[in-house]
Amino acid sequence: MSQAVAQVVAGAAFALGAALLAWRYELGLARPLVTAAVRAAVQLAAVGAVVALVFRVPALAVAFVAVMVVTAALTAGGRLRGLPGARRAAALAIAVPALSATAILLAVGAFDVTPRAAIPTAGILIGGAMAATTLTGRRLLEALARGGDELEARLALGDAARTALAPFTRQAITTGLVPAIDQTRSVGLVTLPGTFVGLLLGGASPAAAARIQLTVLLALLAVELLSAIVVAELITRACIRPGERIVVPPAAVAASR
């Protein structure tokens, strides 16, 4: 049995085993498990085919990255409902940091300027940027919706609108960065991250795998912080009105109830 066949058979057997176990214990999970397994197979096969195509036609890499950015912006934008122009804000907060960092890594020669190196790098950074944008943005909108009295008290004491908002944005950015910081701190001790595992399975030396993983992780720290700052700034701007007034997006108020 070739390795490829063994992989497919082993994977399918695991999924089937899990479904049988779920059926035996009447968990009602058998169908969802099978559906999820089939979905994953179809999605990965499709991505594999597309990536294979992109590797043959490098110009398509740009389109591939664009699709990743749009998908991430739509996902994060949906989580920031209530903010006027949520999708545009999410696109900006995700694309600018993630694509800049990718460009820098390629430009300085840290990774090869090939679709094989650029696409996974951009993907990881876009994913991290999306998580930080969603977490920071949601946290900030919720805090603003609850903090109307405090905002007004600060304004009434003579704060400029931006000054009155600053404690809220600082808190949200700090919260938004927690997963990135924890992931960096615990790397290798709690989990082996995907890049590292993938490189080892692909035949890279442990030293090379660790080096590449570290580069990605450290870039992620900067990208996620920048995403959090950008989304907080865009929300701040959306709240400030002339005359040092603050108007919290009404839908954010409704969403927090």
Binding site: E150, E152, A153, R154, L155, A156, L157, G158, E244, R245
Partner: protein, 254 residues
Amino acid sequence: MASEREREAPGLRVRGLAVALGGRTVLRDLSFDAPKGAVTVVVAPSGTGKSTLLRCCNRLLQPDAGTILLDGADVDGVEACALRRRVGLVGQVPVMLPGSVRDNLAYGLTERDDASDAALTRALAAAGLDAAFLDRPADELSGGERARVTLARALTRGPELLLLDEPTAALDAAAAAHVGETLRGLAADGLGVLAATHDLGFAAAVADRAIALRDGRAVTGTPEEILGAGEGERGAADAKHGAADAKPGAGEAR
């Protein structure tokens, strides 16, 4: 007709104020004066636009129409942050900022303000709290203490005019009486005081001038007229109630 002299009197002058919030008209063509050196009380039930009115006076809210003059100058022409230091607002919800009472009192003070312990203690005393409160964590205070800290916090900015939204809401009778005395003392020192309340007893005790809000308009008059009318309405309601109760009462008397 207001005399020429009266028109130039320093203080707050509201003319033709109109505000709609979420499509609902809250204030329409509201006009009144709140001169310096006097306590002006706005009497109205909750939800009739008192907070809206106060928030227009320090530009937290932009009215749809009308002008508000402070010492004869349109507040729209005054830089908002500077205006809010001159026109202190003590909100209905006593919000404590992080830190100690001292941190709260000194919050946002600039080099031109007096942030010395002596000045902060004076503000605390005016609000009825002693100096020992300076080092108390603000989030451990009771509702009544918070209400007084918010008053003291507005005073540390050296305001010319003080806006108070339901100042007795969190206070018992004795504390309310003390705040009333404080407001009268501040007015005697030349401060303008504009307090919105539905507490008629408090209004009667502190008001030099009284205004009732009806359908978003102001009914002005002497405190006796305005508060008397309020008492009258309450009296009439009680009388009606009394009439309804009369039958069983009469039955028992037999």
